[in-house]
């Protein structure tokens, strides 16, 4: 697209119409429904969006109205965003797995007038908090099922509204009216409000303009050479900035096809069927795939296991070098090629990564081993560091400069500086306008000269790559003065497949102790193979043999920590295994599955106390929330395990 065009097509609705004119026959969206991939091309998408926009006007929607979008990744919901933008309204995507109260907060704060939702589940949630939402006028739903007997005075089936819109558009006057409204959109208008899940406090509404999102989308497209021929799978929450940029903004700018899986449970199968060329996933997804592979390999025959182990060894030696384009001896190349035919190719195919030309992991630190594993079997996995406030891109790893422990160089046209405290600050075209209705918070985060404080502490290494250590407010000090970066320690623990989640304590204490959450899949499988009988997660978590296994992992982590002079003081001396999985429904994790440290400290205060007063067991009694909102109790005595920390002469003095 020429620069002139870029200046004219400065909003997503305009770009969609542009796509319909220039590549109307190319697929825009696919959705697997009734077992078949149904697809829509750009022309059909544009028609649907116009009809829905006309329908919304008919309902009384106006410029600057907020329209909530709630549901899993579905073509109709993405187009609802575009339809809202067409009439100058501001879409507000919400996390569809939020409970009603969380939803009520955002809906109320954003003064939402219309909600476009997926199904009965979401309708029920909104109806249950309707009293708090005086601004809400109508709810539109996509899936009819179960809603037949509901009072329809404020409910409307999305397809009915689209039909009304189509009928209205038959009139020339209203078509012209809609086109005029679309043309009125400017690049500096607010395109979307994305509520950040917030590891602390209430969510904040990040306002991003079309200019922000388009600039950011173009940075990514140019960086990785994306074209209309690319394919991606959209399966991450629509309210998350990553999905909004990758599955919406970039898809519209580059014109590539976005594929929506049949259901959350079928994503692995669906990804295999589509074979995306461009993928994006938090580390968790890659961890899960690898865990599944390893668990299955444990059950495989000896010959298969030998082949697998042998070629993984070869891949570890040469795989990353071959991918990075380094010099590799011919014999090693041939050996790797054989491995590719026997092991790596089939593995990539299993994962649905056969066609991937570039994949990103972000959101949290990825384990060096996991990262290297995927690269060694030929998946061009890279890291990026991003924020909602930046419209994603802050740093990116350029091809050929991939390191597992850094997040790469500043993205094109983004500038990064380090505050005296070590906090990372950035500026660039993607910098957000402000938090919706919260100028105080905006002022806290945005500096006078237009830089944004990330709240992360980091530094540049010798090659100019940024390395992130931890959240600035989380980095603590032990009483003897040693550094205590909790996330750094937790991530090291979490890289073991048996450990799903970890929470480390140590700020203003004399030693580090932690909570461990075991992974039910990995440990459950181990239990099955070793005849460890258990009736529940709680029972498995309390098994002495499980404790033994986890203690070994902790000791290994301690060895790794001891190897880094700054971290030697932060070795783990005591741990316990929690009797329940940390869960977002209980408020222990954010909706993006990050640990909410302060909340956990408060909730499990008795256990934290037991970790530090030397007692051998801690007692717990706590409430848990089931998926449907009912409550239950977990109680019991939790064993606390001491870990021997070998004193390292010389280092103690340094700390």
């Amino acid at each position: 697209m020429s620069e002139l065009n870029q200046a004219i097509e400065n909003t997503f609705p305009k770009l969609i119409l542009f796509n319909a004119r220039t590549r109307g026959h190319r697929p825009a969206m696919r959705h697997k429904d009734f077992g078949i991939w149904q697809s829509w091309n750009w022309t059909e998408a544009a028609q649907f969006i116009k009809a829905l926009a006309a329908g919304l006007i008919g309902l009384g929607a106006q410029r600057d109205d907020k329209i909530a979008i709630i549901g899993s990744n579905r073509p109709y919901l993405y187009w609802s965003i575009a339809a809202a933008q067409s009439i100058g309204a501001i879409p507000v995507p919400l996390y569809s797995d939020s409970v009603a109260d969380e939803m009520a907060f955002v809906l109320e704060h954003a003064e939402v007038r219309f909600a476009i939702v997926e199904d009965q589940e979401q309708v029920d949630k909104i109806l249950s908090v309707l009293a708090k939402l005086p601004a809400l006028k109508s709810i539109l739903y996509e899936e009819k099922r179960g809603l037949r007997d509901y009072d329809h005075s404020r409910l409307c089936w999305l397809s009915d509204l689209v039909e009304l819109g189509r009928a209205a558009l038959k009139d020339k006057g209203s078509t012209a009216g809609l086109e005029r409204v679309i043309a009125e959109g400017k690049g500096s208008d607010t395109a979307v409000i994305l509520y950040t899940s917030g590891t602390t406090g209430r969510p904040k509404g990040v306002m991003l303009t079309y200019d922000n999102l388009l600039a950011s989308a173009r940075i990514g497209i140019a960086f990785d050479g994306l074209t209309e021929k690319d394919e991606i799978i959209a399966y991450l929450p629509m309210a998350w900035v990553g999905d909004h940029v990758f599955s919406y903004a970039q898809a519209i700018v580059a014109g590539y096809c976005v594929n929506c899986p049949e259901k959350a449970d079928t994503i692995i199968q669906d990804r295999r069927e589509i074979g995306p060329t461009y993928i994006f996933a938090p580390p968790r997804v890659f961890e899960n795939l690898l865990t599944l592979t390893m668990v299955r390999m444990e059950d495989a025959g000896r010959l298969k296991r030998w082949i697998f182990d042998h070629f993984l060894q070869v891949a570890r030696c040469w795989g990353e070098k071959i991918l990075g384009g380094d010099k590799v001896p011919l014999l090693a190349r041939l050996h790797y090629a054989l491995g590719d035919a026997l092991v790596y190719g089939p593995l990539r195919n299993r994962y649905g990564l056969s066609n991937v030309k570039v994949g990103y992991t972000a959101g949290e630190a990825i384990g060096a081993e996991i990262f290297s594993y995927y690269r060694s079997i030929g998946v061009n996995l890279k890291q990026l560091y991003g924020q909602t406030e930046a419209s994603v891109y802050v740093t990116l790893q350029p091809d050929g400069e991939i390191k597992p422990d850094t997040v790469g160089r500043p993205a094109p046209s983004v500038d990064i500086r380090l505050a005296p405290s070590g906090e990372v600050e950035f500026s660039g075209p993607g910098v957000f306008q402000g938090y919706f209705k919260d100028p105080e918070k905006t002022a806290e985060v945005k500096t006078q000269d237009g830089y944004v404080r990330t709240g992360d502490v980091g530094f540049f290494d010798a090659t100019g790559h940024l390395k992130i250590i931890d959240r600035a407010k989380d980095v603590g000090r032990l009483t003897h003065g040693g550094l205590f970066p909790p996330k750094y320690i937790e991530n090291k623990l979490k890289f073991y497949p048996n450990i799903k989640e970890a929470v480390a304590f140590g700020h203003a204490r004399d030693h580090v102790a932690c909570f461990i959450n075991i992974d039910p899949v990995a440990v459950g499988n181990w239990a099955e193979r070793n005849n460890v009988t258990h009736a529940s997660y709680q029972e498995l978590a309390a098994d002495p043999r499980v404790y033994e296994m986890i203690a070994e992992h902790v000791e290994e982590v301690n060895e790794a920590l001891a190897a880094e002079p700054q971290m030697a003081g932060a070795r783990i001396t005591r741990f316990l295994i929690l009797p329940k999985e940390l869960d977002a429904d209980d408020g222990e994790l954010t909706r993006t599955q990050k640990v909410r440290r302060s909340f956990i400290t408060e909730r499990y205060a008795s256990l934290v106390k037991a970790l530090y007063d030397g007692s051998a067991v801690g007692e717990i009694r706590t409430e848990i929330t089931f998926e449907d909102g009912r409550k239950g109790m977990v109680e019991g005595k939790i064993v606390i395990r001491d870990v021997t920390v070998a004193p390292k002469p010389g280092l103690e003095a340094a700390a």
Binding site: F34, G35, G146, D149, E627
Partner: protein
């Protein structure tokens, strides 16, 4: 519930069933109206499953008549019952364990397949069109019951709760007018029970299917059903709306363990 129920679709009149000297069902009469959810409850051994077996022709009662859609049948065979529009699920799941979810549900379409064997053998002409039409119907059911993720998994490998759902799917594939569910929620945890209740209500609402169900969970019965018939020792002791039945003394005596020690959740 605002749903209105229509005419009588099934009428059971003075039915008695004996196995040698054992009286399974004695002189029972009740009716099921079109579009309703009719629960059959009673303590263990009350004759509930026998009653279902009588309705779909597995057992032939020594006395009494069954009238389904106005046609009186005395000794109906199960396949005739199926042909006339009665489908059922079983207390102990009865699926083809080695076959996939898709194939199991497809087997429910068997009665509706018309094209001849030769066409089917070569997957040609009418057989092909027919297969596609049936597959579409099956996919709708898979979507309805939200079992897409196990579409191609052999059902023997599935957890019990899912197997029950697949079995319901197979019964739905027949597009029955009357659906007999024998303890659809036995052995399920609370969450699975809630899901299953949702599906049963949705089947009733969306497809207008008349449902007769046997269930032990009183909460489920009271929430789902329009009318309840209560059996005890093979005899009918009460019949009416859930609230009427709940207040009935004979039911309380039979159920709440005055006469015998039955659980009554």
């Amino acid at each position: 519930m605002t749903r209105s129920t229509g005419d009588v679709i099934l009428n059971v009149e003075n039915v008695s069933l004996r196995f040698g000297g054992v009286k399974a069902v004695t002189d029972i009469s009740f009716d099921i109206r079109k579009g309703e959810i009719r629960a059959i409850i009673g303590p263990n051994g009350a004759g509930k499953t026998s009653m279902l077996n009588v309705i779909n022709g597995v057992y032939h009662p020594q006395k009494g008549t069954i009238t389904f859609k106005g046609r009186v049948r005395k000794a109906m065979q199960p396949y005739q019952a199926a042909k006339s529009g009665i489908a059922r699920t079983f207390q102990n799941v009865a699926l083809f364990k080695g076959m996939s979810t898709l194939d199991n549900i497809m087997s429910g379409r068997y009665l509706r397949m018309r094209s001849n064997f030769l066409w089917q053998l070569f997957y040609l002409g009418p057989a092909r069109d027919e297969e596609i039409a049936h597959r579409r119907k099956v996919e709708e059911i898979i979507d309805f019951l939200e079992i897409q993720h196990v579409r191609k998994v052999p059902v023997g490998k599935l957890p019990y709760g899912l197997q029950k759902r697949v079995e319901l799917g197979r019964a739905l594939a027949m597009e029955p007018e009357l659906l007999l569910l024998d303890e659809p929620m036995a052995g399920m945890n609370l969450e699975e029970k809630e899901d299953m209740s949702r599906y049963i209500l949705d089947v009733n609402h969306e497809f207008g299917t008349t449902i007769a169900l046997i269930e032990h969970d009183m909460g489920v019965v009271m929430d789902l059903s329009d009318r309840v018939v209560v059996l005890d020792y093979g005899r009918k002791i009460a019949d009416g709306t859930p609230s009427e039945v709940k207040a009935n003394h004979a039911v309380l005596a039979a159920y709440l363990g005055v006469a015998h020690q039955e659980k009554s959740r």
